[in-house]
Amino acid sequence: MVVKLADNIISPLGVTTKENYEAVKAGRTALCQHEGVPGIPIPFFASLIDESVLTVEGDYTKFERMCIQSVASAIQQCDIDVASERVLFIVSTTKANVSMLGRSGCDNDRVLPGVAARKIAEYFSNRQMPLVVSNACISGVCAQIEALRALELGLCDYAVVVGADVQSPFIVTGFQSLKAVSAEACRPFDRDRKGLNLGEAAATVVYGREATADNRWQMVCGAVRNDANHISGPSRTGEGSYLALRSVLQHIDASEVAFVSAHGTATLYNDEMESIAVERAGLIDTPVGSLKGYYGHTMGAAGVLETLLSMYAVDDHTVLGTRGFENLGVSHPISVCAENRVTNRNSFIKLISGFGGCNAAAAFRKGGAR
């Protein structure tokens, strides 16, 4: 089976997963107002990493330094030779070094995500071909699904999955032009939600193959489905998210699921769509939560970051509260709560959706047995 061997999160809330988990459990948020940022005329609410916490030296961009530091921190926790040809690097990102794309056009090939990924892998002396999963907002879950498959098929012995994105005028003005951002802290699933906030983070998970899970986290399964509906608007029937959940629920029983860690971006249509999908999948009584009120939408990092915090939450018998939520504002009565709740279950489902009509769900279980 495929088990988690190590992890890390770097965000404004901390530089380890533990620091991040404790901050979130205590209800802290990294979201705040940013004004006067060059290239972004309209003020915006976001969670941004102060470069002073990044310690990697050398000719690396902020994106690369975040990835390298996160991976370095994770692999310190496990005894693997990351330079080995049996270690697969998977980078999950939507825009990587896009801020290198200036007026002068593209004079640095590191604006290409594959080239940046190679730079990151080579820092660790890994010469294998790195993969960049660029599947919009669901990249972080897709990248873990690719890791699971590569390990199950024996194509590698270890997979290092790192998700990250850096906010820049390119991304912020884009989301502003889509009228998808909230001018205040986001409110997932709330009736007064006004849109998303953007965030920065890097998150790493290292998976390996073991005969038994023992007391470790097992990645059970994952599925990716398309809405076949619209390139930017979520499906009105929650088709892709429902189909992904349905596939995952063939490998895990709803009765063992502590919670669904939803995408919960706090846009009108995303949260409504997820409530439909959760209801259709028969999970209406299962606690549902979103972590966007703590971090905003961290894009390429989101799928990894939210998976890791969910693991730490289950370890702590906790369903993390959905910060910003007050009154249910979706058409199906899903179980969302602003406060932390107690759980004794050992599994959870990560659900996520993105532009291009893509949706992913993955199930994780602590220990081998139910």
């Binding site: 032009s177 889509l178 009228k179 619209h230 390139i231 930017s232 608007g233």
Partner: protein
């Protein structure tokens, strides 16, 4: 007004990449969304940009757009009343 309507039709064709459509194909009184031109939510956002860029009209809430983009005639009427450039 007729001049503005024709100008607007040409601008809409350009910004929404309606290659197959000529100004005379657009009935200024027909609904812009929901039928005919097969426009979607992204087209509506692009029309919001057009309003600001060409006429200096800021539309903050996309819901406001729904009323303004009812038809080319309604748009033209709104522009002539509110334009700042």
């Amino acid at each position: 007004m007729e001049e503005l309507i024709l100008k607007l039709k040409n601008e809409i064709i350009e910004v929404l990449n309606l290659e197959d459509i000529k100004p005379e194909d657009i009935d200024e009184n027909a609904p812009l969304f929901g039928e005919g031109l097969a426009l979607d939510s992204i087209d509506a956002l692009e029309l919001i940009v057009l309003m600001e860029k060409n006429y200096g009209i800021k539309i903050k809430d996309p819901n406001e757009g729904k009323d303004i983009f009812k038809s080319v005639a309604v748009m033209a009427e709104y522009i002539s009343k509110n334009r700042t450039k």
